[in-house]
């Protein structure tokens, strides 16, 4: 056809991304990877094991995992209907509601804690009713940690899932309705599987944000070993007294997240591997 075709005699059979894209992606990866290598490089590996298996560290780890999983669960359970309503139903003030749900994203961490006080604290809007009706005091309790983490993590889930729902072709859902599926059944069997990648992505984002959450937690729930001292709080304190341990704990947190994210099979993130000829 033309000479470029001839030149391509030795072209790769597989589909490779354009060089520029790879280059830019490479820069981005390096940008993320370097700080971690830097961290690893500074970790006092000789004492790492003993610092890690310190009972205080283990307590913090347990609490962190527990709270972040709860926060993620709450974000998914309440965030999914919220995303659905936002994506699918036009109602006056929808944009304002959406904005409200995303504000905690920009709140400086400490202010987030103050805001939570204002709502759920002892002198907060809902503090007294919560205590009178349920006997719950959220500040200084593990529940408070979960609350703070949900508050900062959930917006990630909501926005990701809403975007996916908006991008979704609704024709399959309509078809499900004609087959006798209630909106709920259609949502569960047709819509949810279709937005699975976004659900996972959103849940991972929310979990990661909750797992690493520091400012709102410390402000709202305080820092009590075994009750509200999560890993990031332990790291922060260790930075004051024993920077080596802080680094070890951080690397440990990273390792856990690494395991979670690597463990996320591509399948859960959606897309078949058909497209990858390699």
């Amino acid at each position: 056809m033309n000479s470029t075709v001839g030149d391509r005699r030795r072209a790769r059979r597989t589909n490779r991304p354009p060089v520029l894209a790879v280059l830019m992606a490479g820069i981005a990866v390096a940008f993320f990877a370097l700080p971690f290598f830097g961290l690893l490089w500074r970790v006092p590996w000789s004492e790492a094991w003993s610092l890690l298996t310190d009972p205080e560290s283990l307590k913090a780890l347990r609490l962190s995992v527990y709270c972040s999983l709860w926060a993620t669960a709450l974000a998914v359970v309440f965030g999914t209907p919220l995303a659905w309503v936002l994506a699918r139903y036009g109602f006056p003030g929808r944009r304002i509601v959406r904005a409200l749900c995303l504000l905690s994203l920009v709140l400086p961490p400490v202010v987030g804690g103050v805001a939570l006080f204002a709502a759920f604290g002892r002198r907060g809007l809902l503090g007294d009713p919560l205590f009178d009706w349920f006997g719950v005091r959220l500040p200084f309790s593990t529940a408070g940690v979960v609350l703070a983490q949900t508050f900062v993590g959930m917006p990630f889930f909501v926005l990701t899932v809403e975007a996916a729902l908006r991008g979704l072709d609704r024709r399959a859902e309509d078809a499900a309705r004609t087959l006798g599926a209630s909106p709920w059944y259609a949502f569960r069997r047709v819509t949810l599987p279709a937005i699975k990648p976004a659900l996972f992505a959103g849940a991972v984002l929310a979990w990661a944000r909750a797992f690493g959450e520091f400012g709102a937690t410390i402000t709202f729930a305080g820092n009590f070993p075994g009750r509200t001292r999560t890993l990031p709080l332990a790291v922060y304190l260790a930075l004051e007294s024993n920077p080596g341990q802080a680094l070890v704990l951080s690397v440990f947190m990273i390792a856990i997240s690494f395991a979670v994210i690597v463990g996320l099979r591509d399948r859960w993130l959606g897309g078949s591997s058909d497209g990858d000829p390699t």
Partner: protein
């Protein structure tokens, strides 16, 4: 189950306004050119597009009526739909697609799969039950869509070109199977198709929709013998020439005269000329035929046992030849030949549109 509906849907550049009535157990074919509004009609009856005016009533229950504000959700209408674009569930395999409606209506998983498997068998898709939807071929996917709609045995079926992607043999088979199904149940059906054979084989009655309105409806034979529009005439393969009859001669708006049977009533009418009654000649024919035109061969459609010739001349015409006739004439596109039609062979139908 009987359907009575007047469907008015206002799209930005298009208005659909048609009456549809289907009696108990009846199958009605909807024919019409592309963009006539057939798929829109299906969506409106299924409840996927609320009416702008009119009503949808099934048996005595109103499903949609903007005036009184009644609107029954699609999932409560028990209407099975085969969509023109299939709309299968890409994340399920073929079997679960077919089982979907049964499961949605509360059947247990194993039972639903059993029934679904039987339907796939009926559609010759047993080998493809476990295949992901996006790996099915076009015709396979269409059969899955059909099985999915039929499996939950709805009392009204809306079939939007359900056989378009099937190969000839499968098509005939599925068509037969569909007829058995439709006559074997009390279900009613509305069948959209571009293939008159489907209508002949499956439908009791035909509605022709053009540009959002019904232009003709009634028994099949009625519609085909008295085509009221260019579209229908093209469809049934008859030449249709509108004009005005005056003393046994129909005059078109272009000024062409066609001799028609002497007893034809005067006034606006269509002349319909069966392709088989058009004779072709290499030289100007002599004899009794009163309609003779010089025409040009535009296109030949050669089948094993008949040849259709599209002609251009004072009026556009389609002629049909037998293989021997074809061989004798040895026509090629571009040839200029003579076409003749006896006046007694010209059918007349009154033109009600004027």
């Amino acid at each position: 189950m009987s359907l009575h509906a007047r469907v008015v849907a206002e799209l930005s550049t298009f208005r659909l306004d048609v009456d549809v009535d289907i009696e108990d157990g009846e199958t009605v074919a909807v024919l019409g050119p592309n963009g006539a509004g057939k798929s829109t009609l299906v969506k409106a009856i299924a409840g996927l597009r609320p009416l702008d005016e009119g009503f949808v009533r099934i048996d005595s229950i109103v499903f949609d009526d903007p005036d009184t504000g009644v609107f029954v959700a699609p999932e409560q209408r028990n209407i099975g739909v085969v969509f023109q674009d299939h709309r299968l569930f890409p994340q399920l395999d073929a079997l679960d697609n077919v089982a979907f409606g049964l499961r949605a209506r509360g059947m247990s998983r194993t039972e639903a799969r059993r029934v679904a498997r039987a339907w796939l068998d009926r559609m010759h898709l047993s080998d493809h039950a476990a295949q992901k939807l996006d790996t099915l071929s076009g015709g396979q996917a269409q059969r899955v869509a059909l099985a999915r709609a039929l499996a939950s045995e709805p009392r009204l079926l809306l079939l939007d070109e359900p056989l378009a992607a099937l190969d000839a043999a499968t098509r005939a088979e599925v068509r037969r199977d569909l007829r058995t199904h439709l006559t074997g149940t009390t279900a009613s059906a509305l069948l959209i198709t571009h293939d008159p054979v489907d209508a002949y084989a499956l439908a009791d009655r035909v509605i022709v929709i053009e540009d959002g309105r019904v232009t003709q409806s009634g028994d099949l034979s009625e519609v085909t013998t008295h085509p009221q529009s260019r579209y229908v005439a093209d469809l049934v393969g008859t030449n249709l020439v509108p004009g005005t009859i005056d003393a046994g001669v129909l005059r078109t708006s272009d000024g062409v005269s066609i001799a028609v049977p002497a007893d034809s009533p005067d006034g606006p009418a269509f002349a319909s000329i069966r392709p088989g009654s058009v004779a072709l000649h290499r030289s100007e024919p002599e004899g009794s035929a009163r309609n003779v035109w010089l025409v040009e061969v535009i296109e030949l459609d050669v089948r094993a046992d008949r040849i259709r010739v599209r002609l251009d001349g004072p009026i556009g015409l389609v002629a049909e030849l037998t293989p021997p006739g074809h061989e004798a004439l040895a026509l090629r596109p571009g040839d200029r030949i003579w076409a003749s039609v006896k006046a007694s062979e010209v059918g007349i139908s009154e033109d009600f549109s004027r």
